[in-house]
Symmetry: C2
Subunit: 229 residues, 2 copies
DNA sequence: TCAATAGTGTCTGTTAGACATTATGGA
DNA sequence: TCCATAATGTCTAACAGACACTATTGA
Protein backbone atom coordinates (compact mmCIF):
# COMPACT_ATOMS: atom_id res chain seq x y z
CA UNK A 1 0.00 0.00 0.00
CA UNK A 2 2.60 2.58 -1.03
CA UNK A 3 1.42 6.09 -0.39
CA UNK A 4 3.51 9.23 -0.53
CA UNK A 5 0.84 11.84 -0.09
CA UNK A 6 2.31 13.80 2.78
CA UNK A 7 5.05 13.57 5.32
CA UNK A 8 8.34 11.88 4.70
CA UNK A 9 8.60 8.13 5.07
CA UNK A 10 10.70 8.68 8.18
CA UNK A 11 8.09 10.85 9.84
CA UNK A 12 5.20 8.54 9.20
CA UNK A 13 6.42 5.02 9.20
CA UNK A 14 7.66 4.45 12.70
CA UNK A 15 5.59 5.03 15.76
CA UNK A 16 5.17 3.18 19.01
CA UNK A 17 1.84 1.40 19.16
CA UNK A 18 0.17 -0.12 22.21
CA UNK A 19 -3.08 -2.06 22.33
CA UNK A 20 -4.97 -1.49 25.58
CA UNK A 21 -7.97 -3.58 26.55
CA UNK A 22 -10.56 -2.14 28.93
CA UNK A 23 -12.35 -5.15 30.42
CA UNK A 24 -15.70 -4.35 31.97
CA UNK A 25 -18.15 -6.16 34.18
CA UNK A 26 -21.06 -5.18 36.42
CA UNK A 27 -20.55 -5.36 40.16
CA UNK A 28 -22.72 -3.89 42.92
CA UNK A 29 -24.87 -1.90 40.54
CA UNK A 30 -22.00 -0.23 38.72
CA UNK A 31 -19.54 -0.91 35.93
CA UNK A 32 -16.11 -2.08 37.03
CA UNK A 33 -12.82 -2.17 35.15
CA UNK A 34 -10.16 -4.87 35.38
CA UNK A 35 -6.85 -3.32 36.43
CA UNK A 36 -3.44 -4.91 36.83
CA UNK A 37 -1.52 -4.36 40.05
CA UNK A 38 2.06 -3.06 40.10
CA UNK A 39 3.37 -6.64 40.11
CA UNK A 40 1.51 -7.82 37.01
CA UNK A 41 2.13 -4.75 34.94
CA UNK A 42 5.62 -3.47 34.33
CA UNK A 43 4.57 -0.22 35.93
CA UNK A 44 6.35 1.31 38.88
CA UNK A 45 3.69 1.64 41.51
CA UNK A 46 0.35 2.24 39.84
CA UNK A 47 -2.50 0.06 38.71
CA UNK A 48 -2.92 0.00 34.98
CA UNK A 49 -5.10 -1.16 32.08
CA UNK A 50 -3.96 -4.45 30.48
CA UNK A 51 -2.08 -3.71 27.28
CA UNK A 52 0.83 -4.56 25.06
CA UNK A 53 2.29 -4.52 21.59
CA UNK A 54 1.41 -6.22 18.32
CA UNK A 55 3.51 -9.30 17.74
CA UNK A 56 4.79 -10.22 14.27
CA UNK A 57 2.07 -11.86 12.21
CA UNK A 58 -0.66 -10.73 14.58
CA UNK A 59 -3.54 -8.46 13.61
CA UNK A 60 -4.61 -5.69 15.96
CA UNK A 61 -7.73 -7.72 16.71
CA UNK A 62 -5.64 -10.80 17.53
CA UNK A 63 -3.48 -8.75 19.84
CA UNK A 64 -6.44 -7.40 21.75
CA UNK A 65 -7.89 -10.88 22.17
CA UNK A 66 -4.56 -12.25 23.40
CA UNK A 67 -4.16 -9.45 25.92
CA UNK A 68 -7.72 -9.94 27.15
CA UNK A 69 -7.18 -13.67 27.64
CA UNK A 70 -3.87 -13.12 29.41
CA UNK A 71 -5.47 -10.67 31.79
CA UNK A 72 -8.62 -12.72 32.45
CA UNK A 73 -7.38 -16.27 32.27
CA UNK A 74 -10.41 -16.82 30.04
CA UNK A 75 -12.08 -15.46 26.93
CA UNK A 76 -14.18 -12.30 27.22
CA UNK A 77 -17.80 -12.67 26.14
CA UNK A 78 -17.48 -9.64 23.88
CA UNK A 79 -14.60 -7.64 22.43
CA UNK A 80 -14.70 -4.62 20.16
CA UNK A 81 -12.51 -1.76 19.13
CA UNK A 82 -13.19 1.58 20.78
CA UNK A 83 -10.77 3.75 18.79
CA UNK A 84 -7.23 5.08 18.67
CA UNK A 85 -5.87 7.65 21.07
CA UNK A 86 -2.96 10.00 21.13
CA UNK A 87 -0.13 10.68 18.85
CA UNK A 88 2.76 12.80 19.96
CA UNK A 89 1.81 15.92 21.84
CA UNK A 90 5.14 15.81 23.63
CA UNK A 91 8.34 17.01 22.04
CA UNK A 92 9.47 13.47 21.31
CA UNK A 93 10.15 12.82 17.65
CA UNK A 94 8.22 9.59 17.84
CA UNK A 95 4.44 9.38 18.06
CA UNK A 96 2.85 7.23 20.75
CA UNK A 97 -0.47 5.79 19.69
CA UNK A 98 -2.77 3.55 21.69
CA UNK A 99 -5.57 1.50 20.16
CA UNK A 100 -8.25 0.92 22.77
CA UNK A 101 -10.45 -2.17 22.88
CA UNK A 102 -13.49 -2.71 25.09
CA UNK A 103 -14.23 -6.17 26.46
CA UNK A 104 -17.10 -7.59 28.48
CA UNK A 105 -17.10 -10.33 31.11
CA UNK A 106 -20.07 -11.96 32.89
CA UNK A 107 -20.62 -10.92 36.48
CA UNK A 108 -19.53 -14.02 38.33
CA UNK A 109 -15.90 -14.00 37.20
CA UNK A 110 -13.59 -13.55 40.16
CA UNK A 111 -10.32 -11.70 39.52
CA UNK A 112 -7.01 -13.50 39.99
CA UNK A 113 -4.31 -12.34 42.34
CA UNK A 114 -2.61 -9.13 41.26
CA UNK A 115 -5.72 -8.11 39.37
CA UNK A 116 -8.78 -6.33 40.58
CA UNK A 117 -12.19 -5.16 39.44
CA UNK A 118 -12.29 -1.46 40.22
CA UNK A 119 -15.69 0.32 40.30
CA UNK A 120 -15.93 3.24 37.93
CA UNK A 121 -16.08 6.05 40.50
CA UNK A 122 -12.66 4.98 41.77
CA UNK A 123 -10.92 5.36 38.43
CA UNK A 124 -10.40 9.02 39.27
CA UNK A 125 -7.18 7.75 40.81
CA UNK A 126 -5.85 6.79 37.38
CA UNK A 127 -4.00 9.04 34.97
CA UNK A 128 -5.94 11.30 32.62
CA UNK A 129 -4.90 9.16 29.66
CA UNK A 130 -6.13 5.99 31.29
CA UNK A 131 -9.42 7.64 32.18
CA UNK A 132 -9.75 8.75 28.55
CA UNK A 133 -9.28 5.16 27.44
CA UNK A 134 -11.92 3.89 29.85
CA UNK A 135 -14.34 6.62 28.77
CA UNK A 136 -13.84 5.64 25.14
CA UNK A 137 -14.40 1.98 25.90
CA UNK A 138 -17.60 2.65 27.79
CA UNK A 139 -18.85 5.01 25.08
CA UNK A 140 -18.23 2.30 22.46
CA UNK A 141 -20.16 -0.26 24.50
CA UNK A 142 -23.05 2.09 25.26
CA UNK A 143 -23.34 3.01 21.60
CA UNK A 144 -24.17 -0.62 20.79
CA UNK A 145 -26.53 -1.53 23.62
CA UNK A 146 -29.55 -1.21 21.34
CA UNK A 147 -28.22 -3.32 18.49
CA UNK A 148 -25.97 -5.99 19.99
CA UNK A 149 -26.81 -8.40 22.83
CA UNK A 150 -24.36 -6.48 25.04
CA UNK A 151 -26.39 -6.85 28.22
CA UNK A 152 -26.54 -10.62 27.86
CA UNK A 153 -22.74 -10.77 27.63
CA UNK A 154 -22.64 -9.38 31.16
CA UNK A 155 -24.97 -12.06 32.54
CA UNK A 156 -24.71 -15.81 33.06
CA UNK A 157 -26.62 -18.18 30.78
CA UNK A 158 -29.83 -17.92 32.79
CA UNK A 159 -30.93 -14.81 34.62
CA UNK A 160 -34.02 -13.14 36.04
CA UNK A 161 -35.70 -10.25 34.24
CA UNK A 162 -34.79 -8.05 37.19
CA UNK A 163 -31.13 -8.96 36.66
CA UNK A 164 -31.45 -8.09 32.99
CA UNK A 165 -33.15 -4.80 33.73
CA UNK A 166 -30.45 -3.91 36.26
CA UNK A 167 -27.75 -4.46 33.64
CA UNK A 168 -29.60 -2.31 31.12
CA UNK A 169 -29.99 0.40 33.74
CA UNK A 170 -26.26 0.33 34.43
CA UNK A 171 -25.40 0.45 30.73
CA UNK A 172 -27.89 3.19 29.89
CA UNK A 173 -27.26 5.13 33.07
CA UNK A 174 -30.92 5.73 33.80
CA UNK A 175 -33.75 3.89 35.51
CA UNK A 176 -36.22 1.94 33.39
CA UNK A 177 -39.88 1.32 33.93
CA UNK A 178 -40.44 -2.30 34.91
CA UNK A 179 -43.70 -2.96 33.10
CA UNK A 180 -42.53 -1.13 29.99
CA UNK A 181 -39.25 -2.99 30.00
CA UNK A 182 -40.95 -6.37 30.13
CA UNK A 183 -43.49 -5.46 27.51
CA UNK A 184 -40.74 -4.37 25.11
CA UNK A 185 -38.81 -7.55 25.86
CA UNK A 186 -41.86 -9.65 25.15
CA UNK A 187 -42.58 -7.80 21.92
CA UNK A 188 -38.99 -8.22 20.70
CA UNK A 189 -39.00 -11.91 21.67
CA UNK A 190 -35.29 -11.99 22.51
CA UNK A 191 -35.60 -14.01 25.72
CA UNK A 192 -37.24 -17.34 26.38
CA UNK A 193 -38.50 -18.53 29.75
CA UNK A 194 -37.06 -21.62 31.41
CA UNK A 195 -39.01 -23.78 33.85
CA UNK A 196 -36.77 -22.75 36.75
CA UNK A 197 -37.42 -20.16 39.43
CA UNK A 198 -34.93 -18.56 41.78
CA UNK A 199 -35.64 -17.22 45.24
CA UNK A 200 -33.29 -14.54 46.55
CA UNK A 201 -33.91 -12.96 49.95
CA UNK A 202 -37.35 -11.80 50.81
CA UNK A 203 -39.77 -11.46 47.94
CA UNK A 204 -41.49 -13.71 45.49
CA UNK A 205 -39.16 -15.98 43.47
CA UNK A 206 -38.31 -14.85 39.94
CA UNK A 207 -38.54 -16.96 36.84
CA UNK A 208 -35.27 -17.61 35.03
CA UNK A 209 -34.85 -16.66 31.39
CA UNK A 210 -32.34 -17.38 28.69
CA UNK A 211 -31.17 -15.24 25.74
CA UNK A 212 -32.85 -16.37 22.52
CA UNK A 213 -31.57 -14.95 19.23
CA UNK A 214 -34.39 -12.87 17.71
CA UNK A 215 -36.41 -14.22 14.82
CA UNK A 216 -36.68 -10.98 12.83
CA UNK A 217 -35.28 -7.55 13.46
CA UNK A 218 -38.01 -4.99 13.92
CA UNK A 219 -38.14 -2.29 11.32
CA UNK A 220 -36.83 0.78 13.04
CA UNK A 221 -39.47 3.45 13.29
CA UNK A 222 -39.19 7.20 13.24
CA UNK A 223 -36.29 9.56 13.41
CA UNK A 224 -34.77 10.73 16.65
CA UNK A 225 -33.61 14.32 16.92
CA UNK A 226 -31.56 14.05 20.10
CA UNK A 227 -29.22 16.60 18.58
CA UNK A 228 -26.83 18.02 21.16
CA UNK A 229 -25.47 21.00 19.24
CA UNK B 1 3.93 5.27 29.90
CA UNK B 2 6.32 2.35 30.37
CA UNK B 3 4.55 -0.96 30.08
CA UNK B 4 6.15 -4.36 29.83
CA UNK B 5 3.12 -6.55 30.13
CA UNK B 6 3.58 -8.68 27.05
CA UNK B 7 5.66 -8.83 23.94
CA UNK B 8 9.21 -7.61 23.72
CA UNK B 9 9.89 -3.95 23.22
CA UNK B 10 11.14 -4.73 19.72
CA UNK B 11 7.96 -6.48 18.73
CA UNK B 12 5.60 -3.82 19.93
CA UNK B 13 7.28 -0.48 19.56
CA UNK B 14 7.72 -0.05 15.86
CA UNK B 15 4.92 -0.26 13.36
CA UNK B 16 4.01 1.71 10.28
CA UNK B 17 1.01 3.95 10.88
CA UNK B 18 -1.07 5.75 8.28
CA UNK B 19 -3.98 8.11 8.90
CA UNK B 20 -6.63 7.90 6.18
CA UNK B 21 -9.45 10.42 5.91
CA UNK B 22 -12.69 9.41 4.21
CA UNK B 23 -14.33 12.67 3.15
CA UNK B 24 -18.03 12.39 2.43
CA UNK B 25 -20.63 14.59 0.84
CA UNK B 26 -24.09 14.10 -0.66
CA UNK B 27 -24.43 14.31 -4.44
CA UNK B 28 -27.33 13.24 -6.61
CA UNK B 29 -29.15 11.51 -3.81
CA UNK B 30 -26.21 9.39 -2.69
CA UNK B 31 -23.11 9.63 -0.55
CA UNK B 32 -19.88 10.36 -2.41
CA UNK B 33 -16.29 9.93 -1.33
CA UNK B 34 -13.41 12.25 -2.18
CA UNK B 35 -10.66 10.30 -3.95
CA UNK B 36 -7.25 11.44 -5.12
CA UNK B 37 -6.22 10.73 -8.68
CA UNK B 38 -2.98 8.97 -9.58
CA UNK B 39 -1.21 12.33 -9.88
CA UNK B 40 -2.15 13.66 -6.44
CA UNK B 41 -1.50 10.46 -4.56
CA UNK B 42 1.85 8.70 -4.77
CA UNK B 43 0.01 5.69 -6.07
CA UNK B 44 0.84 4.02 -9.36
CA UNK B 45 -2.37 4.13 -11.30
CA UNK B 46 -5.30 3.92 -8.92
CA UNK B 47 -7.47 6.42 -7.17
CA UNK B 48 -7.00 6.45 -3.43
CA UNK B 49 -8.27 7.79 -0.13
CA UNK B 50 -6.36 10.85 1.17
CA UNK B 51 -3.91 9.75 3.84
CA UNK B 52 -0.49 10.15 5.34
CA UNK B 53 1.70 9.80 8.39
CA UNK B 54 1.82 11.51 11.76
CA UNK B 55 4.41 14.27 11.82
CA UNK B 56 6.56 14.92 14.90
CA UNK B 57 4.64 16.87 17.52
CA UNK B 58 1.29 16.16 15.86
CA UNK B 59 -1.57 14.26 17.48
CA UNK B 60 -3.52 11.74 15.45
CA UNK B 61 -6.42 14.18 15.43
CA UNK B 62 -4.15 16.97 14.14
CA UNK B 63 -2.88 14.73 11.39
CA UNK B 64 -6.36 13.83 10.23
CA UNK B 65 -7.37 17.49 10.14
CA UNK B 66 -4.25 18.44 8.18
CA UNK B 67 -4.82 15.69 5.63
CA UNK B 68 -8.46 16.68 5.25
CA UNK B 69 -7.53 20.32 4.66
CA UNK B 70 -4.83 19.40 2.17
CA UNK B 71 -7.26 17.26 0.22
CA UNK B 72 -10.15 19.73 0.32
CA UNK B 73 -8.41 23.08 0.21
CA UNK B 74 -10.76 23.97 3.07
CA UNK B 75 -11.83 22.74 6.49
CA UNK B 76 -14.37 19.91 6.69
CA UNK B 77 -17.55 20.73 8.58
CA UNK B 78 -17.16 17.61 10.70
CA UNK B 79 -14.34 15.19 11.45
CA UNK B 80 -14.34 12.16 13.69
CA UNK B 81 -12.39 9.00 14.18
CA UNK B 82 -13.88 5.83 12.75
CA UNK B 83 -11.41 3.30 14.14
CA UNK B 84 -8.13 1.52 13.48
CA UNK B 85 -7.72 -1.16 10.84
CA UNK B 86 -5.26 -3.88 10.16
CA UNK B 87 -2.12 -4.99 11.80
CA UNK B 88 0.13 -7.50 10.16
CA UNK B 89 -1.64 -10.44 8.62
CA UNK B 90 1.16 -10.80 6.11
CA UNK B 91 4.47 -12.41 6.95
CA UNK B 92 6.23 -9.09 7.30
CA UNK B 93 7.85 -8.55 10.67
CA UNK B 94 6.35 -5.10 10.85
CA UNK B 95 2.68 -4.37 11.48
CA UNK B 96 0.83 -1.95 9.18
CA UNK B 97 -1.93 -0.07 10.95
CA UNK B 98 -4.31 2.51 9.48
CA UNK B 99 -6.37 4.86 11.60
CA UNK B 100 -9.48 5.87 9.67
CA UNK B 101 -11.20 9.23 10.06
CA UNK B 102 -14.56 10.24 8.61
CA UNK B 103 -15.10 13.82 7.45
CA UNK B 104 -18.13 15.67 6.15
CA UNK B 105 -18.33 18.47 3.59
CA UNK B 106 -21.37 20.57 2.56
CA UNK B 107 -22.87 19.73 -0.80
CA UNK B 108 -21.81 22.71 -2.85
CA UNK B 109 -18.06 22.16 -2.58
CA UNK B 110 -16.57 21.48 -6.00
CA UNK B 111 -13.56 19.18 -6.15
CA UNK B 112 -10.22 20.53 -7.35
CA UNK B 113 -8.31 19.09 -10.26
CA UNK B 114 -6.88 15.65 -9.65
CA UNK B 115 -9.58 14.99 -7.08
CA UNK B 116 -13.04 13.67 -7.54
CA UNK B 117 -16.23 12.93 -5.64
CA UNK B 118 -17.04 9.31 -6.38
CA UNK B 119 -20.56 8.01 -5.68
CA UNK B 120 -20.68 5.08 -3.30
CA UNK B 121 -21.76 2.40 -5.77
CA UNK B 122 -18.61 3.02 -7.78
CA UNK B 123 -16.23 2.32 -4.92
CA UNK B 124 -16.43 -1.35 -5.86
CA UNK B 125 -13.52 -0.49 -8.09
CA UNK B 126 -11.31 0.17 -5.07
CA UNK B 127 -9.27 -2.38 -3.13
CA UNK B 128 -10.92 -4.42 -0.39
CA UNK B 129 -8.94 -2.53 2.22
CA UNK B 130 -10.07 0.82 0.91
CA UNK B 131 -13.68 -0.35 0.82
CA UNK B 132 -13.33 -1.49 4.42
CA UNK B 133 -12.13 1.96 5.37
CA UNK B 134 -15.04 3.64 3.63
CA UNK B 135 -17.50 1.24 5.25
CA UNK B 136 -16.06 2.03 8.65
CA UNK B 137 -16.28 5.75 8.04
CA UNK B 138 -19.88 5.58 6.93
CA UNK B 139 -20.80 3.33 9.85
CA UNK B 140 -19.24 5.84 12.25
CA UNK B 141 -21.19 8.70 10.71
CA UNK B 142 -24.47 6.79 10.62
CA UNK B 143 -24.07 5.80 14.26
CA UNK B 144 -24.17 9.46 15.24
CA UNK B 145 -26.94 10.79 13.03
CA UNK B 146 -29.39 10.81 15.93
CA UNK B 147 -27.17 12.61 18.40
CA UNK B 148 -24.97 15.00 16.45
CA UNK B 149 -26.07 17.60 13.87
CA UNK B 150 -24.50 15.44 11.17
CA UNK B 151 -27.12 16.19 8.53
CA UNK B 152 -26.65 19.95 8.93
CA UNK B 153 -22.92 19.56 8.27
CA UNK B 154 -23.82 18.29 4.81
CA UNK B 155 -25.98 21.32 4.03
CA UNK B 156 -25.30 25.00 3.50
CA UNK B 157 -26.29 27.53 6.17
CA UNK B 158 -29.86 27.81 4.95
CA UNK B 159 -31.81 24.96 3.42
CA UNK B 160 -35.33 23.78 2.73
CA UNK B 161 -36.96 21.09 4.84
CA UNK B 162 -37.08 18.88 1.76
CA UNK B 163 -33.29 19.26 1.45
CA UNK B 164 -32.90 18.30 5.07
CA UNK B 165 -35.17 15.31 4.73
CA UNK B 166 -33.27 14.15 1.64
CA UNK B 167 -30.00 14.22 3.58
CA UNK B 168 -31.52 12.25 6.44
CA UNK B 169 -32.86 9.72 3.97
CA UNK B 170 -29.42 9.29 2.44
CA UNK B 171 -27.77 8.93 5.85
CA UNK B 172 -30.37 6.53 7.22
CA UNK B 173 -30.75 4.64 3.98
CA UNK B 174 -34.54 4.57 4.09
CA UNK B 175 -37.41 6.86 3.08
CA UNK B 176 -39.01 9.04 5.74
CA UNK B 177 -42.59 10.19 6.07
CA UNK B 178 -42.86 13.89 5.24
CA UNK B 179 -45.49 14.92 7.77
CA UNK B 180 -43.90 12.84 10.52
CA UNK B 181 -40.47 14.21 9.77
CA UNK B 182 -41.66 17.79 10.04
CA UNK B 183 -43.66 17.13 13.18
CA UNK B 184 -40.61 15.61 14.86
CA UNK B 185 -38.47 18.52 13.70
CA UNK B 186 -40.95 21.00 15.10
CA UNK B 187 -41.17 19.16 18.41
CA UNK B 188 -37.38 19.02 18.75
CA UNK B 189 -37.07 22.71 17.82
CA UNK B 190 -33.69 22.31 16.17
CA UNK B 191 -34.40 24.46 13.12
CA UNK B 192 -35.64 28.03 12.88
CA UNK B 193 -37.44 29.50 9.91
CA UNK B 194 -35.97 32.42 7.98
CA UNK B 195 -38.08 34.94 6.08
CA UNK B 196 -36.72 33.72 2.74
CA UNK B 197 -38.32 31.36 0.27
CA UNK B 198 -36.69 29.55 -2.61
CA UNK B 199 -38.32 28.46 -5.84
CA UNK B 200 -36.72 25.56 -7.68
CA UNK B 201 -38.27 24.23 -10.85
CA UNK B 202 -41.94 23.57 -10.91
CA UNK B 203 -43.67 23.43 -7.57
CA UNK B 204 -44.51 25.79 -4.76
CA UNK B 205 -41.50 27.65 -3.33
CA UNK B 206 -40.05 26.26 -0.09
CA UNK B 207 -39.29 28.26 3.01
CA UNK B 208 -35.65 28.37 4.02
CA UNK B 209 -34.56 27.21 7.46
CA UNK B 210 -31.44 27.46 9.52
CA UNK B 211 -29.98 25.08 12.10
CA UNK B 212 -30.70 26.31 15.61
CA UNK B 213 -28.91 24.61 18.50
CA UNK B 214 -31.59 22.94 20.61
CA UNK B 215 -32.66 24.49 23.91
CA UNK B 216 -32.91 21.27 25.87
CA UNK B 217 -32.18 17.70 24.92
CA UNK B 218 -35.29 15.58 25.03
CA UNK B 219 -35.23 12.83 27.57
CA UNK B 220 -34.74 9.68 25.57
CA UNK B 221 -37.72 7.42 25.91
CA UNK B 222 -37.92 3.68 26.02
CA UNK B 223 -35.43 0.94 25.31
CA UNK B 224 -34.87 -0.40 21.85
CA UNK B 225 -34.31 -4.11 21.45
CA UNK B 226 -33.04 -4.12 17.87
CA UNK B 227 -30.78 -6.97 18.90
CA UNK B 228 -29.27 -8.71 15.91
CA UNK B 229 -27.95 -11.82 17.58
C1' DT C 1 -55.14 24.34 -16.92
C1' DC C 2 -52.14 20.87 -15.50
C1' DA C 3 -48.21 19.04 -13.19
C1' DA C 4 -45.22 19.26 -9.45
C1' DT C 5 -43.76 20.39 -5.09
C1' DA C 6 -44.55 22.59 -0.26
C1' DG C 7 -47.00 22.53 3.76
C1' DT C 8 -50.93 21.10 7.06
C1' DG C 9 -54.92 18.76 9.42
C1' DT C 10 -57.02 14.55 10.91
C1' DC C 11 -57.44 9.77 11.97
C1' DT C 12 -55.65 5.41 13.69
C1' DG C 13 -52.68 1.97 15.60
C1' DT C 14 -48.64 1.47 18.58
C1' DT C 15 -46.11 2.23 22.55
C1' DA C 16 -44.05 4.30 26.81
C1' DG C 17 -44.97 5.57 31.36
C1' DA C 18 -47.98 5.82 35.47
C1' DC C 19 -50.69 3.42 38.55
C1' DA C 20 -52.87 -0.24 40.68
C1' DT C 21 -53.45 -4.97 41.75
C1' DT C 22 -52.46 -9.75 42.40
C1' DA C 23 -49.00 -13.46 43.51
C1' DT C 24 -45.72 -15.56 46.44
C1' DG C 25 -42.24 -16.22 49.24
C1' DG C 26 -39.20 -14.91 53.73
C1' DA C 27 -38.69 -12.54 58.14
C1' DT D 1 -48.93 -11.16 59.84
C1' DC D 2 -46.17 -8.00 57.54
C1' DC D 3 -42.96 -6.84 54.11
C1' DA D 4 -40.43 -7.23 49.92
C1' DT D 5 -40.17 -8.51 45.39
C1' DA D 6 -42.26 -10.59 40.99
C1' DA D 7 -45.56 -10.31 37.52
C1' DT D 8 -49.52 -8.40 35.13
C1' DG D 9 -53.67 -5.50 33.72
C1' DT D 10 -55.50 -0.92 32.64
C1' DC D 11 -55.47 3.85 31.50
C1' DT D 12 -53.49 7.84 29.22
C1' DA D 13 -50.49 10.75 26.62
C1' DA D 14 -47.21 10.82 23.04
C1' DC D 15 -46.06 9.60 18.60
C1' DA D 16 -45.48 7.41 13.95
C1' DG D 17 -47.54 6.50 9.67
C1' DA D 18 -51.33 6.94 6.34
C1' DC D 19 -54.26 9.80 3.90
C1' DA D 20 -56.31 13.71 2.27
C1' DC D 21 -56.32 18.26 1.46
C1' DT D 22 -54.87 23.13 0.50
C1' DA D 23 -51.27 26.39 -1.35
C1' DT D 24 -48.35 28.08 -4.81
C1' DT D 25 -45.51 28.13 -8.41
C1' DG D 26 -43.75 26.90 -13.59
C1' DA D 27 -44.72 24.66 -17.87
Amino acid sequence: MPRQNSGTRASRNRVSLIIDVVLLTTRDGALSVLLLGPASSGNRDRWSIPGGGVRPGESVEDTAMRIAREALGSTPSHLEQAGALGGARRTSAEAAVTVVYAGLVPVDSAPEVGKSWVPLPEVRLLSARQRDEIDRAIAAIRARVDHLPIAFRLLPDVFTLSDLQAVYEILLGRPLHKASFRRALHAAAIVEATEEWRSEGRGRPAQLFRFAPPRRRRQRRGVRFDIVG
